[in-house]
Point group: C2
């Protein structure tokens, strides 16, 4: 089995590799892990020794097959626990991330199999992210970042990129949740801000907000 730290690095590299496509910079990893580049280098080298990543000095890191398998298994656990926390324990969607960060490292195949069943095999977590199946397959949803949509286009919110409490509370305050219908009423070229329609209300959102909302058109 792998240590907590190893699992966290693998998960982190997985997410970065998804976003930017291609080898991941050491600095990017260090930043996301809230640690120093030297520590990241250290861990990357250990992961490379175990053939969980392939790594060339100064060139960046990518996950190997087995690295991906470990990362996806952790992500599956994380998202299943998030569903549990929200559906069964009635947590708000902005409160669950930190706890799931801990729960995702519990080691027991059987536990996850049973949890999955108990939750009735959910496909998505409370933030709209797909839950990998037992074999590591992830449903690809063709979603669009709201900031890339243009005037008068519309769709429903299927996911969020940021999962920080502040951001999710911002959405709650405006009654925006997974499944909410959103329409772009206007878009400002200068700063990328938008005016959107949500239910019967319309309001202004900054580019930063728009970049963190995933829409299915």
């Amino acid at each position: 089995m792998y240590t907590r730290a190893e699992e966290n690095y693998l998960k982190c590299i997985f997410h970065l590799e998804q976003e930017h496509k291609g080898a991941v910079a050491t600095n990017a990893i260090a930043q996301m892990m809230s640690t120093k580049a030297s520590s990241a280098t250290d861990m990357i080298q250990r992961l490379a020794d175990k053939e969980l990543v392939s790594y060339r000095r100064y060139k960046g890191t990518t996950l190997t097959k087995s690295g991906i398998a470990v990362a996806v298994a952790v992500i599956r656990k994380h998202r299943l626990w998030e569903v549990f926390l929200v559906e069964k324990l009635n947590f708000q969607w902005d409160e669950v991330h930190e706890i799931a960060e801990q729960l995702e490292h519990i080691q027991s195949e059987e536990l996850i199999t049973r949890l999955d069943k108990f939750l009735d095999h959910p496909d998505y977590d409370p933030h709209g992210d797909p839950i990998p199946d037992k074999d590591g397959n992830i449903k690809k949803t063709e979603k669009k970042v709201l900031s890339e949509m243009s005037k008068s286009q519309h769709g429903i919110l299927v996911g969020v990129r940021e999962t920080s409490g502040e951001f999710l509370q911002y959405l709650d305050k405006r009654n925006i949740a997974i499944g909410t219908k959103i329409k772009v009423l206007g878009k400002e070229f200068f700063d990328g801000s938008m005016i959107i329609q949500v239910k019967r209300e319309q309001f202004f959102i900054s580019k930063k907000i728009a970049e963190n909302l995933y829409i299915q058109v």
Copy 2:
């Protein structure tokens, strides 16, 4: 907060102190923690620095007020998770110990508060052990070890001392569970073995088995 290892040592010392009443020997701790006496000494000294235990060289260890508080909080979490695993995820009572050993270290007050509510504030775990309340109070059940009972006494099984899979499976095989009525039909002085009545069956049990069953008379 405390590390996993610190929490495990505190829990271990708590259990040993309960059993033998009085200061706990370093060797006893090392043995229960499956580690070496030198490692135990090391950790005990660290715990003493943090005032979680009081310790005098060569004399043994006892928990302080704050040490007890930490230990009891961990035990509360452990037992609540065991209830969850058995009641909600349908694990057998012999399968849950190891998983609960991991879950007991998840840090979140709120999580435990909600889990407790979700489980409808259980008083006992699946092995019959009382679950400490939020403030660390533990229900004292006046129970007797079966091996100390004498011929023709009877009572119901309210707890087990051993929680290993083999032992619990042994009980399952003989249809003995928490709540089962047990009567002592005979007792052999030479080796402490017994003949007991369980429902309509009667059978022979060794002293070792009898020492691990708690009965309420």
